[in-house]
Amino acid sequence: MSLRLKLLLLGLATLVLPWAGCRYAREMESALRQGESSSLLAVADTVAASLQGRVDLMYRAPVDTAAAQTAPKPGPYDLEPLVLSAAPLIDGYADDWPQLPAAWVWFKKDDEHRFGVLTGVYDRVLYVLLDVRDPHLVFDAPGASSLDPAAMGDRVWFGFQNREGAEQQVFFAASGPGTLTARRVEAGEYGEDLAVIEPRIRGSWQPTPTGYRLEARVPLSMLGGGFGVLIDDRDQRGAAPSSYGMLRPADLHTQGQLIVAAPELTTYLEQFAQPGLKLVVTAPTGQMLARVDALAQVVDLDSDPPPLLTRLYRRFVDRPGVRPPLESQAPIYDRDRHGLIGTLEVTQTTERWGRLRDRALTRMLNFTLATSLIAFVGMFAFAAWLALRLSRLRRASESALTRTGIVTTFPDTRARDELGDVARSFSTLLARLNEYTGYLRTLAGKLAHEIRTPLTIVRSSLENLETEAELSPGARTYLERARQGSERLNAILIAMGAATRVEEAITGAERTRCDLVPLIASAVAAYRGAFAQRRFSAELPAEPVSLEAAPDLIVQMLDKLVDNAVDFSPVGALITVRLKLEPGAAVLEVDNLGAPLPPQLHGRLFESLWQSRPHGSQSPPDPDTRPHFGLGLYIVRLIAEFHGGEARAENLPDGSGVRFAVRLAR
């Protein structure tokens, strides 16, 4: 695993930041919810306390003060109107009413004749829906007076107490389906009955398959406590009615109460209303008395953040499901706290601080993700930079020891961090190594130089001695041996100093573009003459192989290779000189038959002063006094490197001999 990858993995750790942020947001939401919940309870308690004993506010029937102390107990004729959320359209149809079968109150004459009442309150108006089951729907005679007994059909009476407590009645008499206005019976100027239109009470009459339906509205301002409905059922027009319902048949007085809150209750509650809050007051019976609902009016906290991003965040962060609203209840007691007169329910939508949390979450996620991204990118860049420096260092250290020279300057050696330290250490190490190598390289030359002076003393003394006439024959023999010994020593010294001279000659060499093929061909021809005891074969390409080279050096290198091949091959053996073309290089190979290279020699063959191979039985002892110091192959290496190439030695695949190959860059 590369350093870059490791650092990137480490960079992933910064993703903990957004994760922790999400966790924090959730914790915060839960704490917020708890706090909101208790504050909601406080609101509920406060509002409920302010309503304590306010029966007058909560109920419309302050008939007697004793009764006003407590909540009315619903009797059989009492009605508990629904608190409607919208005004029904007075059209005789029930489809815009809440579909609540349990809220209907039914009154029955017999199996075929009965009616149900559904009442509701909206904005200081009482709405009444009657469903009358009557197999014989009889309308009034059109055009006739509604008080003409002969023209009377089915009719509906509303009886109620006005604000002063006086009983009043209105009736609906329809001569056909449609809207109609209630009328009340008043005594005329002469004591006669008059049907006076009551314009504030209107309704709509529609036949149904089972009878008819009447929908009507009565302003609450007309109503006191009591309210009732009575049906005059006639099987045919003008017949005697059979009346049944909630009013006393004798005088049409109300028997039941309308349990409905005073209109002021809503006004009262509205002062507590805020967006996202719902206040509901219910009677102990469970009937809703008033409601202020601002749940839907959640203020926009801000212009919507990018919804896609928010949705994306919520997908990862939120638990599935809708946030439930908060609810709180507080009882409303009577004045003496003896009994309940109602209950206050406060509901608060969580949407508001859900939005708050979303906004905070979004900001936090944006921030932390940006932080992560920056950290990530930063780490990536740092890792790349580090890897670059490391690989530069690696390349430099790899190439530092190749070729003849040692690179002692490193990239990053001026950097002041640990890598710079490493590079500097490397550089120092290599400088020392270079010094040492240089010392070793020049050691032979220096040694030769130092030995040369005493040797010259020995040799010149011996030569002077030779000229002395009075030497005995025995002394002459010793003198001759001493002279031979000193000659050999001299030859060794020359060879030892040769390396330095070769290096100088190579550095001073000039390159020209030349064709290797004729060069090598002529050299091989010369070898055939020079080494008559070996056979030579030249394998050269047909096309010219031209490159920038110093021809003198190339031939010198070939000389050394052939010398070496001759030394280590038996008499009569074939020596193959081969020039091959490879991409970007020309390869010069010299194969000789003979003993393979011992494995320990690999890689050291081309070193200076390495005794190439001990003289084996294959070549006769060298009569030449020039010692073999392996300088030949060192020269080969120097020349190969001068030409941007390399020299190597390997055994032939079949083990029959050795191949020396030199790559020359083209």
Partner: protein
């Protein structure tokens, strides 16, 4: 002052003693190694030369102020002066343009040889050379000096095209212009030009020049010869390389 007691000054009177015969040539050896100095002196004296030896540049200069020798053999490093020989050579050359000077040194690098020859030395020899060879070189140099002093007398002259080689005076000319060659270089050119077209291998060239050199030294000598001729004639290419064999003179 130049009596026997001058041993203390590091120079040695000729063994044959007495006053310097006008016939005897005077060779000055400046060498800080006493044993070598004396051995060389003995060899030269055997040949009939007068020899004076000096251990340091200061001693040599003091003596040369009185009388210049006929030939000077100088080592490069002298006592505490690693380059004292070069300095001495420069001073001698300033005093006399004709005085033959030979460097005889243990230092054998290309750089030393080039520096020495550039300072006007007539030859640059290493101490590997045997005494017999050294004496032969000195004799040859004297012969050259002698021949130059008698310009009218024709010696053995080889002419190869633009090249004129006077073996007697050891002088080379190209297109009538003198090419200043060191003795070693002269012998190499001589060996090549005597048989134009024939390849002379390195060993043959070494034998001709009476020197023991390795292949690379021969190569650098040849290179220097080419440069010297090219200084006179930029189109010079008579010394050709026969790769793998040696060199030949092309006409």
């Amino acid at each position: 002052m130049m009596a026997k007691s001058v041993d203390a000054f590091g120079f040695r009177a000729p063994r044959c003693g007495g006053s310097l015969s006008p016939m005897k040539r005077l060779i000055a050896i400046v060498e800080d190694e006493a044993a070598i100095r004396d051995n060389y002196a003995a060899a030269f004296e055997r040949e009939g030369y007068s020899v004076r030896t000096y251990a340091s540049r200061a001693l040599a200069l003091a003596a040369f102020g009185a009388r210049l020798p006929d030939l000077a053999v100088i080592d490069i490093s002298l006592e505490d002066e690693p380059e004292g020989g070069f300095e001495l050579c420069r001073q001698l050359r300033a005093r006399s343009a004709e005085l033959p000077i030979i460097f005889l040194t243990a230092r054998d690098t290309e750089l030393d040889a080039v520096s020495g020859l550039r300072l006007g030395a007539d030859d640059f020899l290493t101490k590997d050379l045997s005494l017999a060879h050294l004496v032969a070189r000195v004799n040859a140099l004297f012969r050259r000096v002698e021949a130059l002093r008698r310009p009218e007398e024709p010696g053995e002259v080889i002419r190869r095209g633009a090249l004129t080689l006077d073996a007697e005076r050891m002088q080379a000319q190209w297109d009538g212009k003198v090419v200043l060659l060191s003795l070693t270089e002269f012998w190499i050119v001589h060996a090549l030009a005597r048989h134009p077209g024939h390849v002379r291998n390195r060993q043959q060239l070494m034998d001709a020049a009476n020197v023991v050199l390795d292949d690379n030294t021969i190569t650098s000598h040849v290179k220097r010869i080419r440069r010297k001729f090219q200084a006179v004639d930029p189109k010079f290419d008579a010394v050709q390389t026969a790769y793998g064999m040696g060199y030949r003179w092309a006409e």
